[in-house]
Symmetry: none
Subunit: 193 residues, 4 copies
DNA sequence: AATGAATGAGAATTCATTCAT
DNA sequence: CATGAATGAATTCTCATTCAT
């Protein structure tokens, strides 16, 4: 019995995901340039050629991986709401960020490593900004409401802090007191100052 | 009549510096792996071979560049004092960090980009930690004195924040309100909380 | 429809052999260091890169070539017999040695040329000795039986003579009276002296 | 007081010899291709450039070294005599050969190593033959007189044997019973057979 | 006579990508 | 859909040689 169109589609989808997950693992662990297509193929137990059946190029592959990560982020934080943040919502935001950080450490290490290569940044940064900007706007409103004298600066501060924590966490996840840090951040930004 | 020892010494010194500055520029702008020795040679208007007259390998070259940066940092912050931080000293520390960040933006972009490539991190991280650890200790004492309930966590928070700011700054220095941020950090960490 | 495992295996086998035979030819004629991978590739009408698909490095390539030659030798002379040599067996030994010399002149030129490069000797010498030592032991017994007063010295003499002949032969095979020499050696070492 | 022409000449001579002896040492120990001009200069504690003041090229340098060795050989064996060899003279010949071998082991190792690289052989071989041929002629007469049925073959045998011994000796001088071997050769070729 | 900085051709090696099967 | 042999451009690095001083 020949497979249906749909079954093929599903096989393709699974293969794509397999390749991407192996590639993410390797990119994050060994670096983008130290990870050859051969290694990925070996890791996924498929042939080199097949990868080109699913992705146009190595660059295309990493682009997809990064975009996927961004999309995960978007799904969680999609702010199609009212642009208004409550204390609870801020706590949720911080908590979710750290939860994703914990469960996708590899991805975020990769993300930061890529971010630093300006050519990749140009590629990916734009898309990331589109996601971040509305969040930042909402946050600005929130901080304004909280009495911040210079909410724009405080937003920057918040963003930098979050990224700094991500950075430190992915570099050495074992000893990082993520939960304590969460508490502190929450306090820092919810109290009226 | 042959050149004197001193003249050779000077030529070497100048060439080394030229190569390092061109390399730093390119490494930071295009990434370590996207910067070939050929490009560096072209940038410095010298031959490929000459670079190997001054540096044993590409790896040796980047190691020297990074160590130079660390040394600059050390010179400013060498804490063989009393291990005690006053409010003024903290302000000085933050201020100096940002001043160095501004004047060595390229270097710090490079530093972060390397940090993320685990193999390079192993190379450099150790040396950096040796510098950082005493600073962190001093800071811990300071925060304790300021009444921090969990100074270890606060030190982590501070370090992450500083790195986050550095990261954001090097990625987009133009629009970053570094001075305002400085104020905010200072306030955050000097008030009794 | 993809090629079967067996077809690939055969292609690989043939290509490996092609590369090895071209490389042997060139190594022997021009020397190891004067033979670049490019030259070998050109000689085999394949790309440089393909050679690395079959051999890990230039050193690996020559190692395989030399080991192949040793293996040929071992196949002929494998002395897991009784350790006893008759006159006929000695004649056979000498005859076979010269036959191999004639049919593998290139290989032996290469072998001698490598022998003299101490680093390569270390690589290969050990394996060769393993083969030679038992042969020499058998020969010593034989010469003892023939009445040699100092069989150890005579074994050395025999080995040196055989290698000297090989050396002269590979340097100028055209005019070398190999068959007459064979007779003489046989007489020299079979008569009681 | 300015140095005289002669003094300069002597300095030059000494430097040439220094360079050659260092180069011979290194060529023999590490191989021709593994010995860079830089290494030689370092070994002789002079500058790279100066070597080119004395020798046109690396090839020129090795050519001179090899020719020197041949000349040493010629000095000892120059057969401007009667072309007739007595038993005593043969013993002297063999003895001298081995004496030179012992005192110049490095040189002979180099010589053999070069011999095997056909391009060098072409360079040097001709000159060597000019030296060897008269010796071989004299030896042929001697062997004829001794009753050799095929003196040409015996000359070849003798030459091969001598080279074989040299080869084995330079490869592992420590354990080689050179003196015993000498006795055996002498007996082998002086007895009527 | 002497120096060593500088050159540039060429070496080994890697790897993304293609393509016949 | 799948394979892996094959390519070739690019990379790091070496080194004989030149030359200004």
């Amino acid at each position: 019995m020949p497979r249906t169109e749909k079954q093929f589609e599903q096989i393709r989808e699974e293969k794509r995901d397999l390749i991407k997950s192996v590639a993410l693992e390797l990119f994050a662990k060994e670096g983008y340039y130290n990870t050859s297509i051969s290694k990925i193929a070996r890791g996924a137990k498929i042939s080199k050629g097949l990868i080109y059946n699913y992705f146009e190029s190595k660059e295309d592959l990493i682009k997809e991986i990064v975009f996927d990560g961004i999309d995960t982020f978007i799904e969680v934080f999609d702010p199609n709401k009212d642009g208004i943040l409550t204390d609870d919502e801020l706590e949720f935001f911080i908590g979710e960020t750290f939860r994703i950080l914990k469960s996708n450490t590899n991805y975020w290490r990769l993300y930061f490593s890529l971010l630093m290569q300006s050519n990749v940044y140009k590629l990916v940064g734009r898309r990331f900004l589109k996601l971040i900007i509305p969040l930042m706007k909402t946050l600005k409103n929130y901080l304004e409401w909280k009495g911040s004298k210079n909410p724009l600066v405080d937003v920057r501060l918040f963003a930098a802090l979050m990224d700094g924590i991500c950075l430190h966490y992915v570099l050495d996840p074992k000893d990082f007191p993520l939960d304590d840090i969460k508490e502190r951040i929450f306090k820092l930004f919810t109290i009226n100052n």
